[in-house]
């Protein structure tokens, strides 16, 4: 039976639910690459351009990790997933980049480009066809997967809503999910915050229906779908949390402008901007986190005294 490999980086964090239910419905086997580790990172650094962003380097490392472990590697190409919006150009080039970086690689690919009327459904139908399934089968599988993935998203959103009502110290961690949940990039930060007994609010668990309206309050011109989510979450949660941590990979094109714009809207609470580049030592990051949390606690105590 055919095995499909999914690199645990970049788009995995947006589309995993959709992919996994789609392939499950079609009774296909899926293999994941390992969690990000030092070897994957050093592989990626060797394969990628020096100037490529950390996330792209990790991605190439994950693809390398999958080679010889599966029949196909899933590498989609995105251009525009929402009307009048675009995505980071890394996603535009992803397929061709992987295809040209590795020799003899079997890639499973679909394309989403709304400017050419190629929507997600069409992409998955073509994906199914390439794997030898009829359009009807793929259609049903896609609908099933879409429904399930939406359900999962809503469940996460509900949980977040509940977390927001607690009295604990709350911190919004705003980042692209592929940085936020990555074992090397965001995970150490999240682990640290959890150890400190802080409730974490995740930027990608904002109610998906309010993204557009919240984002418009900060920026009318932004056109990167994935950055919009981060910006909307900063605007929406800024009055509801005690502090904000923004994680970004170096050098990130969209983030360099979007985060700059978002931060200037936040006035009353402390913001920590972490730009991740060299992952060989997280001591520098931890020191900054420590002092940030000290500031938060002090502020909270002061407020508490004022109120009493």
């Amino acid at each position: 039976m055919k095995k499909i490999g999914i690199p645990k980086a970049l788009l995995y964090y947006y589309y995993n639910d959709l992919w996994i239910y789609f392939f499950k419905y079609l009774k296909l086997n899926v293999v994941y690459s390992n969690q990000s580790n030092k070897k994957i990172l050093s592989d990626g650094e060797r394969l990628a351009q020096d100037e490529a962003c950390l996330s792209l380097k990790l991605y190439l490392g994950h693809v390398k990790d999958l080679i010889n472990r599966c029949d196909y590697i899933l590498v989609p190409r995105l251009y525009s997933v929402k009307k009048n919006e675009g995505v980071c150009t890394n996603f535009n080039a992803l397929y061709d980049l992987v295809n040209n970086t590795f020799d003899n690689i079997n890639i499973l690919n679909y394309n989403i480009d709304l400017t050419k009327n190629e929507n997600e459904l069409l992409g998955f139908l073509n994906l199914g066809k390439e794997l030898g399934f009829s359009y009807i089968n793929s259609y049903i599988a896609y609908k099933f997967a879409k429904e399930k993935s939406l359900e999962n998203r809503i469940r996460r959103e509900e949980k977040q809503k509940y977390n927001l009502t607690t009295n604990n110290t709350k911190i919004l961690v705003a980042a692209h999910p592929y940085n936020l949940y990555d074992e090397l990039v965001g995970k150490p930060i999240i682990d640290y915050l959890e150890d400190e007994n802080i409730t974490i609010i995740y930027s990608d668990r904002i109610n998906h229906k309010i993204i557009d309206s919240e984002c418009e309050k900060i920026s009318t011109d932004i056109h990167w779908t994935h950055s919009k989510e981060v910006m909307a979450s900063i605007n929406y949660y800024k009055d509801k949390v005690d502090g904000i941590i923004i994680i970004s990979a170096f050098p990130c094109g969209p983030d360099s402008l979007a985060n700059h714009l978002a931060i200037r809207e936040v006035k009353n609470i402390p913001v920590l901007k972490l730009i991740m580049e060299d992952l060989n030592s997280d001591i520098g990051i931890l020191t900054r986190l420590e002092s940030f949390i000290d500031i938060l606690k002090q502020k909270k105590e002061e407020n508490y005294e004022k109120n009493n």
Partner: protein, 354 residues
């Protein structure tokens, strides 16, 4: 007192833009002061740290214009990060305490005639649609002719006999172009100067070195940002070819995308974002007749970073030397010259070996 309208620099294109704005509005049109080191310093000081360098140049231009008394600023917009420049720059400038109105020519990635007309109508209530379209078309031809002449110049300037003869004639041509009021006189003017340029004395050996310049648009069009790469190359007696110019970006790109996809299908299945695919296509094309390729980009330019591995692969397959320049505000002129000289020696050696 008239209000002053101003806009950032991009090579010599301030001339047609000035022409357009002067015809369409009642304001005094004054382009930003020429780019200097100071411009970059100013831009750098107030920009986000990791933004790409065109943003810093643009912001520096705006600040200098505002200091000179401008009260209306124009920003073009376009694809990639350019599309988002305007909003961030406006906010930064307002935070600095400047008062001005800001005009974005292209919104939502596409330029629509009616929307643009409405923008100008707001500036000048007497403007008629006919005059708007007419001036616009003349400006487009202005740009088109400028680029055509530049192609001729790039081929010949490395071999000029009288120093600066090309540059001086070009300055004169711009002045004459600027005084043309309709398409016919502009076209006549263009042909006149084309003849003149072709008659300028050159001393060109038959097997001269030929180099193609590809890369990101701002660094290839604004000489200051690439540390005057083209004139440095001209000093080395090299024939140049550069694809990116304003007429390419405004309409040629759209018309040729399908053709490019067909020609690059061995390497690329999709477009790579911004000018990524274009550069892969150019590499394939240049590899046939040229001796070397120079690729320029600002540091951290995401679309080019995505395209470079593919460009490198093409260059390796086709066996053509290629050199990559990545410009940052800290890049030093000497480093670039040294690398350029080494590159020159390489292509010269290869040519002689053949």
């Amino acid at each position: 007192m008239k209000r002053i309208i101003s806009f950032p620099h991009l090579g010599n294109y301030y001339i047609p833009v000035k022409y357009l704005l002067e015809k369409l509005t009642d304001f005094e049109v004054r382009q930003s002061p020429p780019i200097t080191k100071k411009t970059l310093e100013l831009g750098e000081k107030y920009s986000p740290n990791d933004v790409c360098i065109p943003f810093k140049y643009n912001l520096g231009n705006f600040i200098e214009s505002l200091d000179k008394g401008a009260s209306i600023l124009v920003q073009a917009g376009g694809g990639c990060r350019y599309r988002y420049y305007a909003e961030v720059q406006e906010k930064i400038l307002r935070d600095l305490g400047y008062e001005f109105s800001f005009i974005k020519l292209i919104s939502k990635d596409k330029m629509r005639v009616k929307e643009t007309y409405n923008i100008f109508k707001k500036l000048n209530s007497k403007l008629s649609l006919y005059k708007f379209i007419n001036t616009f078309i003349i400006t487009l031809f202005f740009i088109y002719y400028m680029d055509k002449i530049d192609v001729i110049i790039r081929k010949r300037i490395g071999f000029e006999v009288d120093k600066n003869s090309f540059i001086n004639l070009r300055e004169k041509m711009y002045k004459d172009f600027y005084n043309c009021n309709n398409l016919t006189t502009l076209t006549i003017c263009y042909f006149k100067y084309r003849k003149k340029f072709k008659k300028l004395k050159i001393d060109k050996p038959k097997n001269c070195l030929k180099v193609g310049i590809i890369g990101e648009l701002y660094t290839s069009m604004e000489p200051f940002s690439s540390y005057f790469l083209e004139s440095e190359l001209a000093k080395m007696n090299i024939e140049l070819k550069r694809y990116t110019d304003l007429s390419y970006l405004l309409w040629k790109k759209k018309l040729t995308t399908k053709h490019m996809l067909r020609k690059t299908k061995h390497y690329c299945k999709y477009t790579l974002g911004a000018d990524g695919l274009d550069n892969v296509y150019r590499t394939i094309k240049l590899a046939k007749k040229y001796d070397g390729i120079i690729h320029t980009k600002p540091f951290g330019c995401t679309p080019e970073v995505g395209a470079i591995p593919i460009i490198k692969k093409v260059a390796k397959d086709k066996n053509i030397p290629i050199i990559f320049f990545s410009y940052d505000s800290e890049t030093s002129n000497e480093g670039i010259i040294t690398r350029l000289e080494a590159f020159y020696d390489l292509i010269k050696y290869r040519k002689e070996k053949k």
